[in-house]
């Protein structure tokens, strides 16, 4: 039955984008690092394969754009919830144009497009945590209050609370949803502090799954027909301790996905796709 807030984690489509060569040199990053584009591409292909083959999502693959070195991180360009897509205004100047291709793709998918036209607003999708019942928006280097307000306006059904992000790039650099009502959170102090804030702001209770590594806390949860709870998370090569924690989730289908290269340019798992549920749309 169609209804408000039904079917959290149920997705039918994914929008992804290719990796431009420029990623290696020009993509923004917090720390200096060398990126092997070929390796990054292989990684990304594997990621897309999981979405397409293993999980059976319909994947819309946008071509890479050399002038947009960060374009593979599509998450920041749009926030999709239900049948509404908010096209963001990314905080980094160099990434603003990434939204154009995204907008077209989402239009094709017949979503209601809301654009962030206010020139004072910035918002990266990576700062938006949707829990199924409400939104948390990280106020970070990339996202400001005005951006959060516009998001609140676009998704009126839901409470939108702001969470200061003191360290790290995005809110989702250290947390994500691991299931309905389950927040996966890193164990660093800023991460825990942000979790506290979220819990205080929320009328709902959330369980938490604390993983030793902040970056490992970024994973992708889906609830797919025939497959149940699915969790894409980091590999044991990257974060062995955190993987042990994930392995405690007995009800989940756990799929480790490598993210060694992309992480060098601050790309986490959620960054590389925009997930959409076409069926849930009434």
């Amino acid at each position: 039955m169609a209804g408000l807030m039904a079917g959290f984690g149920n997705f039918t489509h994914a929008v992804v984008r290719g990796i431009p060569v420029s990623l290696a040199k020009e993509a923004l990053r917090g720390k200096e690092s060398e990126v092997d584009v070929a390796k990054a591409r292989r990684e990304h292909e594997a990621y897309v394969e999981v979405l397409r083959m293993r999980l059976g999502l319909e994947v819309v693959e946008l071509p890479a754009d050399e002038s947009l070195p960060d374009c593979v991180f599509v998450e920041d360009a749009a926030v999709v919830c239900g049948d509404t897509a908010l096209i963001t205004r990314p905080g980094a100047e160099s990434r603003r144009k990434e939204t154009e291709a995204m907008k077209c793709a989402l239009k094709e998918l017949d979503l209601n497009i809301v654009e962030m036209t206010d020139e004072t607003a910035t918002l990266d999708g990576g700062d938006v945590l949707f829990t199924g019942r409400e939104f948390f928006v990280g106020l970070s280097k990339r996202t400001n209050q005005r951006g959060a307000e516009i998001l609140a306006d676009a998704f009126k059904d839901y409470a939108v609370s702001t969470v200061p992000v003191l360290e790290g790039l995005h809110l989702k650099s250290f947390c994500s949803m691991g299931g309905p009502g389950l927040i996966v959170i890193g164990s660093s102090e800023p991460a825990q502090k942000a979790l506290k804030t979220m819990q205080q702001m929320s009328d709902h209770r959330y369980d938490k799954l604390t993983v030793p590594d902040d970056l490992a806390a970024n994973c992708i949860y889906m609830n797919l027909p025939n497959k149940g709870h699915v969790l894409l998370h980091c590999t044991a090569d990257e974060f062995p301790e955190s993987v042990k924690v994930f392995e405690k989730l007995k009800d989940h289908m756990l799929i480790p996905v490598s993210n060694m290269e992309k992480v060098k340019v601050d790309g986490a798992l959620t960054c590389c796709s925009v997930l959409i549920n076409k069926k849930a749309n009434i």
């Binding site: 169609a2 209804g3 408000l4 807030m5 239900g82 049948d83 509404t84 209601n112 019942r133 409400e134 928006v137 209050q145 959060a148 307000e149 609140a152 306006d153 998704f155 009126k156 059904d157 839901y158 409470a159 939108v160 609370s161 702001t162 979790l195 506290k196 819990q199 205080q200 702001m201 929320s202 009328d203 209770r205 959330y206 369980d207 938490k208 749309n281 009434i282």
Partner: protein
């Protein structure tokens, strides 16, 4: 079963009748006895057979309350009574108490309407004689006697009440009469007439109802708010009224809640007798409402909230809600209907309604084919309740830096919005004190784990009226959603400057209890078309979070008086509820012949919850302070209400979170107060402990039921202490990040089964002329008595997170299937016990401080709640034990029932942990074997 129910009602009616006309109470008594004898005749046969068993088995027939009587008698009434008052030794206080008690039972004198304190008294009186019979007579007769006794009792209380303020009494009487009228139409007018003294000038009030129609209502010029409100509810045929209220516009065009306890004329000021009927407290889960008509009214309010933009929602949600509205109002979509879109476009569903939305509404509407109006309403509510602004009452304010914000008051606490964003939230447990002074509004916040001191957050409101309005709304919402019983007004209480306003209506807990007893055929009502929408009185529609507060509901002036709330059959304070139910139970047990149930798998997932303990730190320097306090109290006991400032210390009802005696000193006065608390408790617990029977569990609990009442009173008075309580709670909440205490718990259900005489169970067994083995089977799993809770815990708050589903499944155990001669009964007990029972296992039992039993019954479920409080070495602990008996001939989904029970328990007592769950299932396999 039906027969019994009928008789029950009859008896009740009679007693009510007698109540209405106290002078005829004798006659009423006779009538009752007639009924009684009639019943006796009807069941004589059964009784004879039963008599044999009764010698040894009587206790099984006796529900807990009977046992309670037994033990209660050991605590002489006189002793209890003073204890009750003890915390408020000051004369002023005592006086108030009298005032409150006096008029309550007045004229009508329905015991149910009596305030709590009175209730306790009545119960005592009533019980001592009936207790005697409990020992010697079949349960059935007991029942009759019980009701028969009511009449004299009532007459008595009427006499008592006579002395009290005439006017107040009259007022109450009138309104009570109204309340009765809803269920007993034959009577309801007479009390009104009887009561009305001198005819006064009449005025016509115009009340705009939720469907947009206007209800003209004649009231005396000096009538109080509640009179009008009850008139309106009666007109609407609404029993679950506590969620609603009347509003009026003040001189400043602000919508204010009409204070039920005050004269209408004095509130409206201008001579404009225009009102609107509105939802005042939005139930967080409308599916828990008992009646469809209540849900319908809530729907009407929400439709308007949505259409006006007060309740913002997305396009899709607008469309979905609109489609359910159409389904509810028009029934199935008729393909023949010409141009449905034209019709739809005449209705208002959303602030920015457009063609596209209307098409979507139509499309969805067509898909609802087959849904009944009630189902459509339910679906509407299921979706509406999830909206983030559902039930949030917004108020404009500025923060300390002068930035425009909105403050939203809701069921869970206070929300702070800046533009559309939630920037902060203060859950009720987090708030220690709410106050206002002139146009400033303050909340005192409990310190977080890391912090040492409370902080106070201040907001600026546009003017002092809006500050007061916000303050009142907070007080009311806190009381309604967070307390189990309302806090009495602060008259002559400790440290009250300014407004003494308190919410005095029923709390959500109480209203749920009450409505679970509603026993009338679903009233028929007509769903009117949305065409009307747009109510004249509801002027300012606007309202998004950014712009305007809802101007409705923005200024609750007041709560209602508790004794007015009670519709005749649903009313009742807990004690009363208990009695009612018990009566039914007993009669069931003795009238097996009428039980039509052929297969009865009673499920009993009792949930016992426990609250952490905290170290008590008694204050030392009591005496001097006490004096100081006494002095203070006197000085502030004036009745005058300041418009300029007031404060409110949120207080959590005893049974939600029980009470630790505070450990930290704040102000001298608080300290001193605590001290007093301590004393009271101690002195109290001593006699109680003495009377504690060995078979502690039931009797003890029951014994202290009234103690509980008085305890609560006392606690309520003790604000500081409550603060501490809350603090403790909060601590625990903070410590565990998740819902801390889902620990399925133990409850002696299995065992209590036999003792408590689970009605259904017993009845069944009887029916088959079976010795009740069923009860015993479950005994296999004996567990520690609930009140043997030794709070040996250190001050540290312990929490444990357990995911019920998992743990429960993991721990599931099956226990014997027993065969019984004639009927084959399958018994299955599932127990889950939390690992953290440490406290209860060891050592001596704590001193039982209070205990209380609440029972409510609906169609096929009986819920019995025991609340026990123990004090041991200064640590106190509250245990709530719930047993739910589901009787039915259909298969019951136990897992679901259990899950539901746990969920409810969690919801009702979010601050407690579930420590044990026992599911006991009995299935008769009789049919085939015979």
């Amino acid at each position: 079963m039906t027969t019994e129910a009928g008789t029950e009602t009859e008896v009740k009616e009679k007693s009510e009748e007698s109540a209405a006309q106290p002078d005829q109470s004798e006659k009423a008594t006779e009538e009752n006895q007639e009924v009684a004898s009639a019943e006796n005749v009807a069941t004589e046969g059964e009784e004879k057979k039963e008599k044999d068993k009764e010698g040894k088995g009587i206790s099984r027939f006796l529900p807990p309350w009977l046992k309670k009587q037994k033990s209660q008698s050991q605590v002489p009434g006189k002793e209890t009574s003073p204890t009750k008052e003890a915390p408020r030794t000051q004369e002023a206080v005592a006086k108030v108490t009298e005032e409150e008690e006096g008029p309550a039972p007045a004229v009508n004198g329905h015991p149910e309407e009596v305030e709590e304190k009175e209730e306790v008294k009545l119960e005592q009186k009533r019980e001592s004689p009936s207790k005697a019979s409990a020992d010697t007579q079949p349960a059935k007769e007991e029942k009759v006697e019980e009701s028969a006794e009511k009449a004299p009792e009532e007459a008595k209380s009427t006499a008592e009440g006579e002395g009290a303020e005439e006017e107040k009494k009259e007022q109450k009487g009138e309104v009570e009469g109204e309340g009765e009228g809803e269920t007993l139409t034959s009577i309801f007018q007479s009390p009104l007439r009887l009561v009305r003294k001198a005819k006064m000038k009449l005025v016509v009030c115009h009340v705009t109802l939720l469907d947009g129609t206007e209800f003209p209502c004649e009231v005396e010029k000096r009538a109080k708010g509640q009179y009008l409100f009850f008139k309106v509810c009666e007109h609407l045929n609404l029993l679950e009224k506590d969620y609603f209220g009347l509003t009026y516009k003040d001189n400043h065009e602000q919508r204010c809640w009409l204070d039920p306890t005050k004269e209408i004329k004095r509130q409206i000021r201008s001579n404009n007798w225009q009102f609107a009927f509105n939802v005042k407290f939005y139930p967080p889960d409308p599916s828990l409402l008992t009646e469809d008509i209540t849900r319908y009214l809530l729907c009407l309010q929400l439709r308007e909230d949505v259409a006006s933009g007060r309740l913002p929602c997305s396009f899709v949600t607008h469309a979905l809600l609109g489609s359910y509205t159409l389904q509810a109002e028009l029934g199935d979509y008729e393909p023949e209907q010409p141009r449905p879109l034209d019709y739809i476009s005449q209705l208002t569903f959303a602030p920015n309604q457009n063609k596209e939305m209307e098409e979507k509404i139509l499309e969805l509407y067509m898909s609802h084919r087959g849904m009944t109006p009630a189902q459509a309403d339910s679906q509407f509510l299921e979706n509406a309740k999830k909206l983030s602004m559902y039930g949030v009452d917004l108020h404009h304010a500025k923060d300390s830096e002068g930035v425009d914000i909105m403050l939203g008051v809701c069921a869970n606490g206070l929300l702070v919005y800046k533009d559309r964003l939630r920037i902060n939230r203060f859950a009720w447990p987090k708030i220690l004190k709410i106050s206002y002074k002139r146009n400033n509004f303050y909340i005192k916040i409990r310190p977080g784990e890391a912090e040492q001191f409370e902080s106070t957050v201040g907001f600026k409101l546009p003017n002092h009226r809006s500050a007061k309005r916000l303050w009142k709304v907070c007080v009311e919402n806190h009381s309604f959603f967070r307390l189990n019983t309302p806090e009495p007004p602060t008259k002559a209480r400790f440290l009250t400057l300014g407004s003494k306003f308190r919410y005095s209506g029923r709390t959500q807990t109480q209203t749920r209890q009450a409505s679970s007893l509603i026993d009338r055929p679903a009233p028929t009502f007509e769903r009117t078309s949305s065409k009307r929408i747009s109510r004249s009185l509801d002027g300012a529609p606007v309202i998004s979070i950014t712009e305007a507060g809802r101007d409705l509901a923005s200024s609750a002036e007041n709560g209602r008086e508790p004794n007015l709330e009670l519709p005749s059959d649903s009313k009742t304070t807990e004690v009363e509820i208990e009695e009612t139910v018990v009566i039914q139970e007993v009669s069931k047990a003795t009238k097996p012949g009428h039980v039509t149930v052929t297969m009865a798998p009673p499920v009993t997932p009792p949930v016992q919850q426990e609250v952490r303990e905290q170290e008590v730190k008694a204050a030392e320097e009591a005496v001097a302070l006490e004096e100081a306090k006494a002095g203070k109290q006197e000085s502030i006991s004036s009745e005058s209400e300041s418009e300029e400032e007031a404060e409110y210390h949120p207080n959590v009802a005893a049974s939600i979170s029980h009470t630790q005696i505070p450990e930290e000193k704040e102000e001298e006065i608080e300290e001193e107060k605590r001290e007093e608390d301590m004393k009271v408790e101690n002195s109290y617990s001593t006699p109680d402990a003495a009377s504690l029977p060995t078979v502690a569990s039931q009797s003890a609990e029951a014994a202290a039921a009234e103690a509980e009442e008085s305890r609560r009173e006392e606690e309520r008075g003790k604000k500081e202490r409550a603060e501490e309580e809350e603090r403790a709670e909060e601590r625990e909440t903070e410590e565990s990040t998740e819902d801390p205490m889902v620990t399925p718990d133990e409850t002696p259900n299995g065992h209590t089964l036999s003792e408590e005489g689970t009605a259904a169970l017993v009845a069944l067994a009887e029916e088959e002329k079976e010795p009740k083995m069923n009860g015993e089977t479950s005994l296999a799993e004996a567990e520690p008595r609930p009140q043997v809770i030794c709070c040996s815990e250190p001050p540290v708050v312990k929490t444990e997170m357990v995911t019920i589903s998992d743990t429960f499944a993991a721990q599931k155990t099956e226990i014997a299937t027993k065969e019984v001669p004639i009927v084959h009964t399958e018994t299955k007990t599932i127990t889950y016990e939390a690992a953290q029972l440490d406290g209860s296992a060891d050592g001596e039992p704590g001193v039982l401080m209070t205990a209380q039993t609440i029972t409510s019954e609906s169609l096929c479920t009986t819920t019995t709640t025991h609340i026990t409080k123990t004090l041991k070495g200064g640590l106190s602990e509250t245990r709530i034990e719930k047993r739910i008996v589901i009787t039915g001939d259909a298969d019951i989904d136990h897992d679901q029932a259990l899950a539901q029970a746990i969920k409810e328990a969690k919801e009702q007592h979010p601050d407690m942990s579930v420590t044990r769950v026992v599911v006991h299932k009995e299935t008769e396999l009789a049919e085939e074997e015979d």
